[in-house]
Amino acid sequence: MAPFDLAASLGPVAYALVFGAIGFGFGAALEMGGFGDTRKLAGQFYFRDMTVLKVMFTGIAVAAVLVALATSFGLLDMTRVFVNPTYLWPGIVGGLIMGVGFVIGGFCPGTSLVAASTLKVDGMLFLLGALVGVWLFGETVSSFQGFWLSSYMGRFTLADWLGLPLGVTVLLVVVMAVALFWAGDLAQQHFGQKRPWAEVVKGPGRGWQLLAGSLVGASLFLVVRGQPDPEARFARMGPEVRRSVEERTIYVDPAEVVALRKDIGVQVAILDLRDERDFNLFHVGGSRRATLAELESQERLKHLLDQPPTTVTFLLGTGEAAALPAWRRLTAQGVPNLYVIEGGVNRWLERYPVDACVAERVGRVDGRDEPAWRFLYATGSTQPAAWPELSASRDFRSPCAAPAAASHDDAHQARSWPAHAYTRRVKLKSKAAVKGGCG
């Protein structure tokens, strides 16, 4: 499913050609729209020419509708499409600076390329100035690094912000865009051509009617059709994802989890899907309890998506039965480096047993979600088995030791676990390699 991992599937020449071809279309579209002429661009800010507004927001609206259609039909995996991360205030301040540069220089970076390519001297000089500008930024950014990295909100879309379905958000964007075009035409006649209001032609032209009609129609279709749910999206993910379930490469031995917890280059997050009672009886140290519904809430999902790329997230159930559907749904929603702890808590306790006076074995460890141990009281994460990576726990006092210990140290037993053999399954994958023009 699109988008494609071009760096992996294409040779360096074909890779360059794909991006060159996209750039070619970009440059041609800008030139055709008149973006090589600085007077057309600057005219926007004196109500003389609405080309900038119309071309840009038509482009945004058309692309937004096409993207939403592609995801709606399951043709595009949006989780792997780059969404410019929101750094709110640096973006706004940068935008305010650029507005000034736009009016003084009469171009933006992309349009100056097109102007220069058609031999406009002002475009070439603007381009030269822009190269100096990006150099100056590189030289000075370290002095305001704090601001430049501030107000980070990660991957944050209008649909998330408004809490609306994608189709409705796209419809709002489309309606706003075509309303702006209409208002722009009126403003151009009144302010630009100095016509009195009475003589301003109010009705929109045929081009507008055609554009507005098709975009609004497509957005309404999107609203009605909706977007596929995570299960449907999972079903459309590539065969390698399904194979990773069949070949059990998503299941990680507890011993590997323990090894990763010792690795300072990796952050391990364990999400415990069991109910509160089982969690209180025993849970892995540092793990957090969460139901699937909680994990799929907007806030939690955003957190899962926005973890550093060195984070590995494990789902943990009593066995494996409940963890698999959760893995499927979260994977379809783009959570990276997500795995299931093999055999669940049952397997964990088999690998790292608790003392006999704490829990007794009552069942088999076979992947089913039936607890294999019956705890006599709630231990939380106080047992050494909850922290196997700490080979000797000085704080632990075994409840099975005789209460009247001869010396203080004797009751504090140093634990060491046998070294379990396991097949390494965790492969850290970084996120989208292509970040559009802002990389």
Binding site: G25, E31, F57, T58, A64, L66, N84, G101, G129, L136
Partner: protein, 174 residues
Amino acid sequence: MSTNREPRPYANPYVAGTLLGVVLFLSLYVTGGGLGASAAMSRVQTGVLDLLAPGHVDRVAYFAEMAGGSRNPWAHYAVYMLVGTVLGGFVSGLVNRRVKLETRKGPRISVQARWGFALLGGLIMGYGARMARGCTSGQALSGGAVLSVGSWAFAMAVFASAYAVAWFFRRLWT
């Protein structure tokens, strides 16, 4: 390159905009990323700096990320896209008879003044584009199409600021 034939008129903005939207969609669909220009400019600039002062590039974190040590700032998709953009603009200009060595300007300023302001505006624009992590194409257009909140805030800031200062620079354009 110039011809003595009249240049053809520009396309209807809705047609050009639709074409732009389709290209942007194809970029997102095929590569997973949108269009842009400023990232490539930053790489071209860093690449030139790396030829002149490689030690300096290695010491400034912002440049080192692109060209530190043995990293090659040129072998990057944004640079390929930039080359394509220039070619696309050139070919469209050629077909429509708009390739001509000339300076476009407002009626009231001299060519030299226009050159000076183009240079200055470019400098401000380049600085602002890196501050905002993208220019009008990478942030406003591409980020706008994938509905990023930051990109929409950015686009509104650009328009608001340009309209706010336009009156002060009216001599340049009207």
